[in-house]
Amino acid sequence: MVLWKPTERQAVTSIWAKIDAEGHGQDTLERLLIVYPWTRRYFDTFGDMSSSEAIHQNPKVRAHGKKVLSAIGECINRMDDIKGYLAPLSILHSDTLHVDPENFHLLGNCLIIAIAASFGEAFTPDVEAAFHKLMAVISAGLSRQYH
């Protein structure tokens, strides 16, 4: 069970209040697909992702980025039971999507960088630590039902 300090909850919720699921979602997913190019293999149905430009203009990337960030937002609404909340999504990623759980960690890195680039000085080391913890908990929750 995860214990959250009040300062950690505050850091996460105050930043998230200013997150734009669509814009930041697209930024996060673009970074994943560009910095870790093998992740593109999970998105065959998205069409052209052969270059950074193609990825940037791909409407499915934008839509999916928004979906992912919305799900992360839901986790933030349930910070005391992220594991339970993510159980069905974990089964989906394991049994249907066959995603290597290492990639959840990579998406977490990309989200943190997207937030840092967007929030600048407000992304203090304390905020960074809180988000790092959040993404570790989310990755663990998404990996939990793998067998």
Partner: protein, 147 residues
């Protein structure tokens, strides 16, 4: 041997032109010591690293941060042979400092975050990818002489 595309070299050099070794070095090392607390064990001689404020005010952290960023900047003058350039430092980290090489990746992550914060919107996915590649090469070069 690493192959650098022209736009990757360009991205890395232009980001680095705006780096302040002392300020950004301190911030990078602060984040490492705060987000990954076990790394403090490598800096026993630095004195008080017990709280974030102690880390922030510790003059050794500032000096050492500048030293690390200076060494990374020097790698940019040897981009086609980072491995060779870092051989001596790799032996030092292995035989004298006994640093677990996993920590080089953690420092790389912290530095990417500092770069993202500092460069802001200019830290596009392509620039992020080029800097990430540099961090991977440096971590690899520093690990190479371990035995």
């Amino acid at each position: 041997m690493v192959n650098w595309k022209t736009n990757e070299r360009q991205a890395v050099t232009s980001v680095w032109a705006s780096i302040d070794a002392a300020g950004h070095g301190q911030e990078t090392l602060e984040r490492l010591l705060h987000v990954y607390p076990w790394t403090r064990r490598y800096f026993g001689k630095f004195g008080d690293l017990s709280t974030f404020n102690a880390i922030r005010q510790n003059p050794h952290v500032r000096t050492h941060g500048a030293k690390v960023l200076g060494a990374i900047a020097e790698c940019l003058n040897h981009m086609d042979n980072i491995r060779g350039h870092l051989a001596q430092l790799s032996i030092l980290h292995s035989d004298t400092l006994h640093v677990d090489p996993a920590n080089f990746n953690l420092l790389g992550k912290c530095l990417l975050i500092v770069l993202a914060k500092s460069v802001g919107a200019g830290f596009t996915p392509d620039v992020h990818a080029a800097c990430h590649k540099l961090m991977v090469e440096i971590a690899d070069g520093l690990s190479r002489q371990y035995h």
